[in-house]
Symmetry: C2
Subunit: 172 residues, 2 copies
DNA sequence: CAAGATTGACGAATCAATCTTT
DNA sequence: AAAGATTGATTCGTCAATCTTG
């Protein structure tokens, strides 16, 4: 019995053919969809997907301002990655940075007029691409089941509840 | 009327609140799932997700051999990316390379014993993670709808039919 | 000349170390 | 000392140019 348990630990249940098909499709989606969305964005606006996301989140703030840490949390990115991104965006004059007046440790990212213009320019094409790729091909029940399924996986990943974010990708 | 059409072109239908929720959940899944799978792999084997995929595909070939181009097609990656990856894997002695005897233009990637051992070592944990994150939380009907939905989106992306790939992630 | 793959240069992501403010 | 963020070094991915074989 002990030997059997050891064997089971080392070699868990493999995927059934059905599960394998599902997983391969899902994996393929992960590999291809970001590229498809990214290429649209870059052709319309020379923004990457993450750059668009960050600027869109900022554009929804009343004063176009947010702490870098909050931005990192909303984008599920490491502070370091965001910091490098902020520097590049600042070099392109799409945002500017300053220390938070209330707490000098925190850095504020502030959307510039140019940054707002850029995200507004990019938004329609982006939304249209998302709609055409996803919502145009799924009917309402499918969409509901899909959302439920994704939410369950997210819960398993421990990122449940954090889905409540900005009204991305409106950007307006 | 002309003005209205112009307006509609510039500003397509935004997402409904329901669609927005679905999209945010899906986007969050894209951002978090690869990292979750990758961290498991690296802790078990010091392979990245793509490295694991490549070695797994090779391990399913009868002679452990495949052309780099075929490998790139199966991984939906650019030849350049695969080439750099092959060089790194070769430096780690997980594969070796040689020109295809039948056509000297094509490069062959050949799985070494060490490479095969590495992917076999990584496979159980990987499958278990995929199962625990996805298939343990979805019942059979949900899984079927999810697969249908993903396939429809893939068809829209133009990668339909290519889902038929290796029996990844069995690795054995 | 076309196909297949590689290379080198550059841009972006990650990790550890650092700096500043509280 | 801890929190928040930045920096520098390394690694990875992308793009254009190149090399070789058919």
């Amino acid at each position: 019995v002990a030997a059997q348990e050891t064997l089971q630990d080392a070699s868990p249940r493999w995927l059934t053919p059905d599960e394998l098909e599902t997983w391969k499709a899902l994996h393929l989606l992960f590999v291809t969809l970001p590229g498809a969305l990214g290429s649209q964005l870059e052709s319309d606006s020379s923004l990457s997907l993450l750059e668009y996301y960050v600027l869109a989140v900022l554009s929804e703030q009343p004063d176009g301002t947010l702490r870098v840490g909050q931005l990192a949390a909303l984008a599920y990115s490491e502070p370091s990655r965001l910091s490098h991104l902020m520097r590049r965006l600042e070099e392109r004059s799409l945002i500017r940075r300053r220390p938070d007046p209330d707490d000098g440790r925190c850095g504020q990212a502030i959307l510039t007029d140019a940054g707002r213009a850029e995200v507004i320019k990019a938004a329609p094409g982006h939304v249209q691409r998302v709609r055409s790729l996803i919502f145009d091909v799924l009917d309402e029940p499918e969409q509901r089941v899909l959302r439920e399924a994704v939410m369950k996986v997210l819960a398993r990943l421990g990122v449940d509840g954090l889905v409540t974010g900005p009204s991305w990708p409106l950007g307006k």
